[in-house]
């Protein structure tokens, strides 16, 4: 009988863990719904871009495999340059395939499509991004109501081939009308939800076309969900739409109990429910729960959103009880008061391969934003997921191998 890995969390870390583990083990992924990955805006980094080194670090083979499986991300060796709606041109290690990377467009003007979408002020953006950017008039809306349609709904219209063809025709007309020479076109978040349609559009227009980075909750997050669903199905991972409530010992295995009351036993568990943003960690000040004049007991400011025998902390140290019945003063927890703030760093204390510290058997792993002191970035989560998945399955595979050799 093959060993079994249970992954809790379906964001980028959990997905990477499940795909990697599935190479050697059978995998069940329990996913409670939307988290930080669904809110990601399409620019992906290994280290925060404000600290990014000039040369991008190469990716491991396993990380590349997961990216291939997700099929919707570009991580060029040279890194990328993406455009943000806040008016910043910024380096990124890679990007959702619908985003325009202006790094390869070394020279020439980039057209910013003046399309009439509410909140997309092409002139202001062109001015903010720099002198190479020029606003261009184009018809992008087919119906009047599309002006204020939410980004994901508008993007979904370009899943349709005919509509994308129509858009390509309008953009070509616009280019012809403008008379100028353009090297690329940038649009608001709009190019598909099922998958990124930037390549298909670029081929039809004859120029690189792509989106700018938009708001959280936009099309890139939905495209991630779709890409994940396809990749997990391709890797034969069993999916459960449920919320884990506890991880506990059941004989020599681990048992994950869900909100629906189901029990799933596995040889190892990968926890990847996200951090504070994703919902894996909760800020729970003593005062919030209590209505009396004084709360009866102090408790740590943060807690895991499920019951599990792991230790929360930061800087390698476990969280301590605060010396106040009201909890830690939030000034000491959060930016901008505190640099390197606890809310930004706290998580499950874990080894380099993701193995949660303090577990005797060493087969609970943590990955992604849930891990203490890890960079809260997309690619860091993915590679942590890869490591945890490999370690979780490796452990199972070794045991399976041992059993086989005895037999």
């Amino acid at each position: 009988m093959s060993r079994h890995v249970i992954v809790v969390g379906g964001g980028v870390a959990g997905t990477a863990g499940a795909i990697t583990a599935a190479v050697h083990a059978s995998v069940t992924l329990i996913d409670g719904g939307t988290g930080a990955s669904t809110l990601s805006t399409g620019a992906i980094d290994l280290v925060p871009w404000t600290e990014a080194p000039a040369t991008a670090a190469p990716l491991t083979r396993e990380v590349q495999q997961v990216l291939r499986a997700l099929d919707g991300y570009c991580v060029p060796d040279r890194g990328a340059l993406v455009l943000t709606g806040a008016g910043v041109v910024r380096p990124a290690r890679g990007h959702d395939a619908a985003l325009l990377d202006v790094a390869p467009v070394a020279s020439g003007r980039v057209g910013v499509v003046r399309c009439g979408r509410s909140g997309w002020d092409a002139d202001a953006l062109a001015r903010a991004w720099g002198t190479r950017f020029v606003a261009v008039d184009a018809t992008v809306l087919r119906l009047d109501g599309e002006r204020v349609l939410p980004d994901p709904d508008f993007a979904a219209r370009h899943d349709d081939d005919d509509r994308l063809g129509w858009l390509a025709d309008r953009l070509r007309e616009a280019l012809a009308r403008s008379g100028g020479a353009f090297s690329a076109l940038v649009l608001p978040p709009s190019l598909g939800v099922e998958r990124a349609r930037a390549d298909a559009l670029s081929r039809r227009v004859g120029l690189p076309c792509g989106e700018a980075v938009g708001m959280p909750g936009g099309p890139p997050g939905l495209r991630f969900e779709r890409a994940r669903d396809r990749a997990l199905a391709g890797a034969a991972v069993t999916r459960l739409r449920d919320r884990a409530v506890s991880v506990e010992r059941a004989g020599d295995r681990w048992r994950v109990v869900t909100e629906g009351g189901d029990r799933h036993d596995g040889d190892s568990v990968v926890l990847a429910m996200g951090g504070l943003l994703g919902g894996g960690i909760e800020y729970a000040p003593s005062e919030a729960a209590l209505a009396s004049v004084l709360p009866p007991a102090a408790r740590p400011a943060l807690r895991l959103s499920i019951q599990a025998p792991v230790v929360l902390g930061s800087h390698g140290r476990a969280l301590e009880l605060p010396g106040s019945l009201f909890g830690v003063p939030p000034e000491s927890l959060a930016p901008p008061f505190a640099r390197d703030a606890l809310l930004d760093r706290a998580g499950v204390l874990a080894e380099r391969n993701g193995a949660a510290t303090g577990i005797k058997e060493g087969d609970i792993f943590a990955a992604g934003d849930l891990v203490a002191d890890a960079p809260r970035t997309w690619l860091a989560s993915l590679s942590a997921g890869v490591q945890a998945g490999a370690a979780a399955a490796g452990d199972a595979a070794q045991r399976a191998g041992a059993v086989r050799s005895i037999a």
Partner: protein, 576 residues
Amino acid sequence: MDESEPFSVRPPPAVMRVAERPLEADHVDAVVVGGGINGTGVARDLSLRGLRVALFERNDLAFGASGNSSGMIHGGVRYLSRAPKVTESSCRDSGYIQRTAPHLLFRIPFLMPLRSGPTARLMLELVDAYFRAYDDFQPLKRGEPHCRLDPSDLARLEPGLVGAVVGGITFDEWGVDGARLCVLNAIDAIENGARLHLHTTVESIGRIAGNEARGERYVVEARDRMTQRRVRVRARVVVNATGAWSPITAALGGLPQARTRVRPGKGIHVVLDRRVTNYGIVSEAIDGRQMFLFPWQNVSVIGTTDDDYYGDLDDVHATSEEVRYLVQGVARVFPSVREARAIGTYAGVRPTLFAFGKNEDELSREHAVVDHTGDGAPGVYSMIGGKLASYRMFAQELCDQVLPREFDSNAACTTHVRPLPGGSRVPDALDLAAKNGVTPVAARRLVYRHGERAPRVLECGATTRGGHELDVTCPCEPVLESEVRYAVREEMARTVDDVARRTRLGLGACGGMRCAARCGQIIARELDLPPAEGCAMARDFLERQARARVVALGPEQARQEALALAHVRASLGELR
């Protein structure tokens, strides 16, 4: 009383120049220092009476106490037993403000529950009698007479109230957006010839010798803190209306600080994400101080503290200690407030009249005009103390004193009848929404802030390329792009913070995550600044707001903070 009671709108008085003399642009009759409610109020009154006025404000309009008060025009109920005349004039002035800016005022009915106890019944009788006496003054401010409530009434009106009570009473307050009130006074002053210099700090007030005949006695030198440009103005009269900053301003003119001494009292408020009650609720803090939870515009607010302040007046912010003190006090009678989501705090410093050896709450909220003739500075006046509700009266008192003495004028005060900008008629919000294709909520908020001028705001930016003037810039409030442009073009906003003060942009649950960068872009465009400066002012705003929110951090808002931080990092970069 009839809600739509008409009142006469007099035409603005013909502008009489007090001194008929051709002067360069840097000669004025009066310099007003301070852009709070007293400064803008007095600048308006002086301008309406025909004087040429220049106003200097170190930060922004309503930056200090005026924009950070509880946002109510009190009727002076607390003075009833000691000084009924003050109560009467407070109520009368509240009525005047309602008539001149009807769009800006909204009724806040309050409940005062009385907890059971040995003397509770007696207290209820006393409070009932007290408010019965106050009812005589209510018509002056269109307030409803108070009601006496039994415990079942209280439970029915606010089911969230807990604890044994013997009963309670209701009373009426009027809410106002203090920052808007300052802006309207400032705009009216400008429209009557005043020049306002915001973000411009006065560096010296010097005496001019020998120019008495030309009516000039002082030269005021100031520096624009954003452009570093220097401004120099000559004037006959200087009015120090700088609230808690008064002694600092007085020192610039070489005046003894003791004459303008205030005892700065810090007060903070906690803002909840929605209206959690329909009534204001009076409760008691752990030290017995009275405090309130009240609905205000589209949020609920808890206030307030009163503590001696020794810090930087330009950088006042709430602490988590203060937040916990307030929440604890409300939770005793309204426990579900602990489950409500706090989305921010604001803090200001009261310019309370100085006294040593008293508790903060015992200090006088009265105001006083200090004439500095005795300090060797004739023509210099300081406005000390005061409250938002009495600003108009305070300005009138100063003008009534200064005009005959300094300018030989007896021009009459008109500020009690002349509508503030937008106040002569309140347009129908639904009608405005339908005509302009904006949402009724956006239209309603716009009419609240701008009254009759709301249609003018909607047109602002209509000629800008791209046709984005009706786009929603801040979805929480909501604020339309045209209002942002209007705040810059017509209301002297120069930063994202300034726009937020005028429009409440970015003060909702998302903390400006969705609008600050866009607002910065619009301002940069309007003021012809490099786009990077728009980004920088967005970052400044986001950082300041994050600081104001974090001290009241709860579980839900913590997730929002994580999202905002992630988004801001991804699209703008680190805050610092």
